[in-house]
Amino acid sequence: MVDLFDWKRFFTNIPQIVAYLPVTLKIVFYATLFGVILALLVAVIRIKKIPILHQAAGIYVSFMRGTPMLVQLLVVFYGIPILMQQLFNINVNRWDKIIFVYITYILNQGAFLSEIFRCSILAVPTGQLEAAYSVGLTQFQAFRRIILPQAVRVAVPSFGSDFIGLFQNTSLAFLIGVVDIMGRAKTIGTATKHVLEAYVFIAILFIIISLLVKGAFYLLDKKLAYGR
């Protein structure tokens, strides 16, 4: 029977994989930070049904959700330099590859999160908004103080899942040579001919991340549980 798992290899792999953890974390950080901002914008546009922008946002969300992330990465990585060359005559072909990775993930997250946000904002009963207006709050104040806290409660579970999924999706960057922890596990697998130990370690890392994230969101949820 083939020798599939060995503890010694497991432990020698750990420092090699952990060295690439910053890459994964950086991608997740930028994607979430700018993705959330983009998603809020798109969600508000789609709820308010602002003409022209509404249709454009619809196509953007549909494209990002409907096409494989692989294709999105290719379009961003190969298409944007050509676009910049044609329109502005700037050569961005020599930019660091990771910037293209950031852009792809920001756009992707923007689309998926905008749907979560849109749905959770719509979940708040209209009566709340009417009550807010009746005591004299402006639209923006009503949104910030009344709608948002209640919407967040609905959004949190899905957002948490999406966030954890983002960690795992960063492995796509490996295809254009940006090595994150999954990519390192794969390269260790081919270089040493044993991939299972590396994969198991990755799974453990992600489980720890999942527990931390879920724990943080659970506390957030408790804080927002008004009147339940």
């Binding site: 083939v2 599939l4 090699q16 494209f63 379009v75 072909n93 081919t190 001919k193 299972l196």
Partner: protein, 275 residues
């Protein structure tokens, strides 16, 4: 929204993407010093021992060593290495992001329409039908008719098997496409009967036996070679200057015996001219 409207929007968006990428050319002039031109080499990072990352995460392997030696003979260029996966090396070549593609690529007529292959080969690539050591029924390619062969999309083995199936439509070989699969799954799958064979070189089979066999042979190559071919470096169509320079350097490396030396050191034998 009517169906026709949806389709129009979808097609227009895709067409614009395709047009933008198709009509654009990025002709890069990469000069750092006054006389030395920087050449970007694209290679893989997941195919041991040709291109892989060592324990510090640095690129190593046969492709790297050979091209380093080529660079020494061509002082007017400076080679820089970037890694991609098998398919993306070629797409990057097309898009002008890299100048040389190195991933044990084999040539054929259709591919030469799109890319410029080198004239000098640098490895031989002779593939055999490889089965579990306990398999006594399969002895050649024709024995595989009606049986399952594990292969990867985009690999040359797939191309060869499909060519075979075109002339044997009544009882074709069943192809199981498994991309990004691992060697462990190949070995366990073959020994347990999930697939009947794979198509690979003898040196790759030896590699698997050494890694997973615990001293025994788990896989064996049977029969005549499925194909004897050679691997070449790939260049962007029209880049004949670089192609001629690299070809010249490779020829010199073969004559001086340095290529054979690198081959023996990295892949365990002299696979440069013949098996």
């Amino acid at each position: 929204m009517k169906i026709s409207k949806i389709l129009t929007v979808v097609m227009m968006s895709l067409v614009s993407i395709i047009l933008i990428t198709a009509c654009g050319t990025s002709n890069e002039t990469k000069t750092s010093d006054a006389n030395v031109k920087t050449i970007i080499v694209g290679t893989g990072n997941n195919y041991e021992p040709y291109c892989y990352l060592d324990k510090d995460g640095n690129l190593s392997g046969y492709e790297y060593e050979v091209l380093k030696a080529v660079n020494e003979l061509l002082p007017q260029y400076k080679f820089e290495f970037q890694t991609y996966d098998f398919a993306n090396v070629l797409i990057s070549l097309d898009a002008g992001k890299i100048d040389i593609g190195a991933h044990q690529y084999e040539s054929n007529d259709e591919r030469q329409k799109k890319y410029l292959f080198g004239q000098e080969s640098y490895t031989t690539y002779t593939t055999y039908v490889t089965v579990a050591a306990t398999n006594e029924t399969v002895h050649s390619l024709s024995d595989l008719q009606g049986k399952k062969v594990k292969t990867a999309t985009g690999s040359n083995a797939t191309y060869l098997l499909e060519k075979f199936n075109e002339t044997h439509k009544d009882n074709p070989i069943i192809l199981a496409y498994a991309d990004n699969s691992t060697d462990e799954e190949t070995v366990v799958g073959l020994t347990n009967g999930v697939w009947d064979a794979v198509i690979e070189t003898k040196r790759d089979t030896d590699k698997l036996n050494k890694a997973y066999g615990n001293g025994q042979t788990v896989l064996k190559a049977v029969g005549e070679p499925v194909a004897t071919s050679k691997t070449y470096f790939v260049f962007a169509k029209g880049n004949t200057e670089l192609q001629a320079a690299v070809d010249g350097a490779l020829k010199k490396l073969k004559e001086s015996g340095k290529l054979a030396e690198i081959s023996t050191k990295v892949i365990g034998g002299n696979y440069t001219e013949s098996e």
